[in-house]
């Protein structure tokens, strides 16, 4: 009888656990969505509040100045144009950040973009052997690497290779030729001239305990550009790549 009573108790516990599972699901989902909304609201506020206010004020100023000082009015309106364009770029980047980055999807998008840009692409078909914890990080490498190839390289060919711990994006373009571009790369650490792409990527890679290496493509096509990210097995900690 004891074991029967125990059995009934256990069955009841199963039922309870299932009920609480459903309740927990709803609650967890709501909390997660709310946290996400708050985060994005903060982002938006910081990202857009300031620049849209500046645009508005400068447009108002240009309107006032049009009758009195055409040169200054023209400068203000040129500022408005540049600001609005940059704000739109910021919005695009922010929206991109809200999307989950997965290696397979990034490769699919890269295939399409490279084809459209007329750049011959040699891309991995299967990326199943990349551990799940690295799929996000490697996805970012593909996205930033390919964006740079399209924007900066003038390459004819690009090749991406992936294995369990290493990913490489190599092109046969102009490479980082000029002192200017070199300086940009070097300075990006100090927030100087260059972009944020590789800097941001380097931070993500470092957070995952890996390293990012850039240099000429050697051999693939001269001089070219090589972007390589390595994450040693030991470095794998939980919850790195976003």
């Amino acid at each position: 009888a004891a074991s029967i009573a125990f059995a009934s108790f256990a069955v009841l516990a199963v039922v309870r656990a299932n009920q609480s599972l459903a309740a927990a699901r709803a609650e967890v989902a709501q909390l997660a969505a709310e946290r996400e909304r708050l985060r994005i609201a903060r982002d938006l506020h910081d990202l857009l509040g300031h620049s849209l206010t500046t645009i508005t004020v400068k447009a108002a100023l240009a309107a006032r100045l049009a009758d009195r000082d055409l040169t200054r009015a023209r400068n203000e309106i040129a500022d408005v144009e540049a600001l609005a364009r940059r704000t739109l770029a910021d919005v695009r980047a922010a929206v991109a950040g809200y999307r989950d980055v997965r290696l397979a999807t990034e490769i699919a998008t890269a295939r399409e973009v490279l084809a459209a840009a007329g750049i011959e692409a040699d891309l991995p078909r299967v990326v199943d052997d990349v551990p799940a914890e690295l799929a996000g990080l490697f996805g970012w490498v593909v996205r930033e690497g390919v964006t740079n190839v399209v924007r900066h390289s003038q390459a004819k060919r690009v090749r991406i290779t992936v294995d369990q711990r290493v990913i490489e994006v190599v092109d046969d373009g102009v490479g980082v030729l000029s002192a200017v571009a070199d300086a940009a790369l070097a300075a990006s650490g100090s927030g100087g001239g260059g972009g944020h792409g590789l800097l941001g990527l380097a931070e993500r890679v470092a957070a995952a305990g890996g390293r990012l290496i850039t240099g000429p493509a050697d051999g693939f096509g001269a001089p070219g550009f090589r972007l390589r990210v390595e994450v040693p097995a030991l470095a794998l900690t939980s919850g790195e790549a976003s």
Partner: protein, 148 residues
């Protein structure tokens, strides 16, 4: 032949943008805006009627989207080349644009010089891919509506 003005058709449902872009293009001495439409399904007829050399098409429009309009143009008015201008780079758009045989695409907020240059190059039979649009596409990722 080389000094003939380029006849441009503008299609965009956002009339503020369309009007501004049309005026900007018309300020160039070698460009004439011969038609403005706000729906994708008005594009073919307008291109035929005005013998446009270049159709500058928005993607998201009522009636017919710009990519479908581009495909229809290639079939029915093959002399008219297509330049796609869009606010949003979405994966799927680029692929469809290429399949539709468009000559160029760029972001709508590109600097005027870049737009004017793209119109001239497309008119001359060249292909123009705006790196910023490619970058925007990579950023935007697969369009959930057309994925798979």
């Amino acid at each position: 032949m080389t000094h003939r003005t380029i006849r441009v058709l503008m299609a965009d449902d956002q009339h503020l943008v369309r009007g501004a872009l049309a005026t900007l293009l018309a300020l160039e001495s070698d460009i004439e805006v011969v038609a403005e439409v706000g729906r994708g399904d008005d594009v073919v007829e307008a291109a035929r009627r005005t013998a446009a050399d270049v159709a500058v098409l928005d993607i998201e429009m009522p009636g017919l989207d710009g990519l479908a309009a581009a495909a229809a143009l290639r079939r029915e008015v093959p002399d008219c080349r297509v330049l796609i201008v869009t606010t949003f780079g979405r994966a799927g758009y680029l692929r469809r644009a290429m399949e539709a045989g468009v000559s160029g695409f760029l972001v709508k907020d590109a600097p005027v010089e870049r737009l004017v240059d793209a119109v001239r190059r497309v008119a001359a039979g060249q292909r123009v891919v705006d790196p910023e649009l490619a970058a925007a596409t990579l950023a935007a990722g697969a369009n959930p509506l057309t994925a798979r």
